[in-house]
């Protein structure tokens, strides 16, 4: 790993009552890389993302982003530093239009600038024609696209994507893949959770494997795919 790490996670622990969701996870994400995170259901992937994004407070460990310690900071402070995320289950504001969903989360832009930026992002993921549709009326795939556009309102350096490819048809998966490649080419670092090996092989340079709250393996996707520890965790 020659590149400098943008994000460093060290010994992060998160408990929910008796459940240890994340159990001393340690990993790093290189700047301008595309890093995948796989692991069986309930292995703690989403919880780790929530810790990184500031939604959950880790019980132990340290998270550093751009050289700054971010655990303990509020989600809005973390967004402002340049870290954005999408949700595993889409979380659009259903009673607002698509455009309003984006403008509502804008930071430090005039309304006019926020609207312009939102329109550019919606056009980038090819849903510009939906700008005035109520978010509650969108299809599942459209909601996923709008969520990606909304996360980009912060002009993030690091984008966390929680299962962006889950539950959508291969055509849309390929479209999202294309958008993510474009983002990567623009210098956005991507850290994504997914189960679809076909896609991870396609886009990720590095894949991290998680099991029972720990990172158990790290490496190139085709290596991780055959790693006995990973296979043991999944089967």
């Amino acid at each position: 790993m020659g590149a400098t790490p943008l994000l460093v996670v060290e010994g992060v622990v998160k408990r929910f009552g008796g459940v240890v969701a994340v159990n001393g996870a340690t990993c790093s994400v290189a700047e301008r890389s595309v890093t995948g995170l796989i692991g069986p259901n309930g292995s703690g992937k989403s919880t780790l993302f929530n810790c990184i994004a500031g939604v959950e407070r880790p019980d132990a460990g340290q998270i550093t982003f751009l050289g700054r310690r971010i655990n303990g900071r509020s989600p809005s402070q973390i967004c402002e530093i340049g870290l954005a995320r999408t949700f595993q289950i889409t979380r659009l504001f259903r009673e607002m239009t698509v455009l309003e969903n984006l403008v509502a989360v804008a930071h430090g832009l005039s309304d006019a600038a926020a609207v312009r930026r939102a329109q550019e992002l919606l056009a980038m993921v090819e849903v510009g024609h939906l700008q005035h549709a109520l978010a509650g009326t969108l299809s599942y795939g459209q909601r996923k696209l709008v969520e990606i556009a909304r996360a980009l309102m912060f002009a993030p350096k690091l984008l966390l994507l929680d299962e962006p490819f889950a539950g959508i048809n291969p055509r849309l998966q390929n479209r999202i893949l294309r958008y993510l490649e474009r983002l990567r080419d623009r210098g956005v670092t991507l850290f994504l959770i997914d189960h679809e090996m076909r896609i991870l092989l396609n886009i990720c340079e590095t894949v991290l494997a998680m099991d029972a709250g720990e990172i158990i393996a790290e490496g190139a996707p085709d290596v991780i795919r055959k790693d006995p520890r990973v296979l043991a965790a999944y089967f």
Binding site: V103, V115, A123, G128
Partner: protein, 319 residues
């Protein structure tokens, strides 16, 4: 714009009313203005932000007592005293909001209700200052018109403020809190700061209005200041018109006030029951109120038009 014309006509009618009308019409309009002010204020925290308060008369009552005491003991002119009432409401609402807004849903609603009862009990109990259940009397005002005009100014100001709110990012963020507060927070919206701001904003006008109303009645006692009936009527008005809309509280306040008057005059024994049935029927048929239904049917333009206008100014790259 037809909206601007309607607003001007309403303004003119409101301004001319006390010059040309019977005392009965003026006193009805004062009640109406009072409810418009309370409904719009309640709409900010409960309609837009989604924190349903069952204790907003707290601020009305605090304002009424503060203003009356300022007039009686400090010989302050009544308009300034009413402003003092507003200032006290804001000063109480700020720390209160920080505490109460940690509660969600029905806990907040019931907590606010309990708070209003506590203030009422305080007004009863602290007799050395409030005269308890006897109430405080002010020298009657000879000319009620200045009070009327100030109430009208406050009511119109709130309609305008709500229009601005509806078209601002602050308003959008309040709606985001209403829909999914945790989601909004995770997306970097400063939810605590914004909802406390909305709460304080929603307390100011009831405080001032409480002061003006006490001057108008030249009397205040605990049941008048912290009346649950006033609270529930306010809520029913906003529910009827449409929570989180610019014109909903106005429509609700006008329709329900007229309904009250008509039914009260015709069926004095059972009018409250009839109003209750009417409200229940409306909530069943139009759970979101009249205005949202009219917007969905296309009879009225949707709210939040400023953003739409900004959006149409720039031509999207792909459409």
């Amino acid at each position: 714009m037809s909206g601007r014309i309607v607003a001007l006509v309403l303004l003119a009618v409101t301004a001319a009313l006390p010059l040309a009308s019977a005392a009965y019409v003026v006193s009805f309009t004062v009640q109406l203005l009072l409810f418009v002010i309370l409904a719009y204020s309640w709409n900010i925290i409960s309609g837009y932000t989604g924190y349903t308060s069952f204790g907003h008369t707290s601020f009305f009552g605090l304002g009424a007592y503060a203003s009356t005491l300022l007039i009686l003991h400090a010989q302050i002119a009544w308009p300034l005293a009413a402003l003092g009432g507003g200032a006290l409401a804001v000063a109480v609402a700020w720390p209160l909001g920080l505490v109460m807004l940690r509660l969600r849903g029905s806990f907040f609603a019931i907590g606010m209700f309990g708070l209003a009862r506590a203030f009422e009990a305080l007004a009863f109990g602290w007799a050395s200052v409030t005269q308890g259940g006897t109430g405080l009397y002010l020298p009657p005002a000879y000319d009620l018109r200045p009070i009327y005009y100030l109430l009208a100014a406050l009511a119109f100001g709130l309609v305008f403020l709500t229009y601005r709110l509806d078209n601002s990012r602050f308003g959008l963020q309040l709606l985001a809190i209403r829909e999914d507060e945790d989601g909004a927070e995770a997306l970097g919206v400063k939810t605590t700061r914004l909802k406390v701001r909305a709460f304080v904003l929603s307390a100011a006008a009831p405080g001032i209005c409480g002061g003006l109303y006490a001057t108008y009645l030249s009397f205040i006692d605990p049941p008048t200041a912290f009346s649950p009936a006033t609270e529930l009527t306010t809520i029913a008005m906003v529910l009827f018109g449409g929570m989180g809309t610019v014109l909903g509280p106005l429509v609700g306040a006008v329709v329900l006030s007229v309904l009250y008057e008509v039914l009260w005059a015709r069926f004095p024994q059972i009018y409250l029951g009839m109003v209750g049935l009417a409200i229940a029927g409306v909530v069943l048929l139009m759970p979101r109120g009249v205005l949202p239904l009219a917007m969905r049917r296309g009879w009225l333009p949707h709210g939040r038009g400023a953003l739409r206008r900004l959006a149409s100014r720039a031509v999207p790259a792909e459409a």
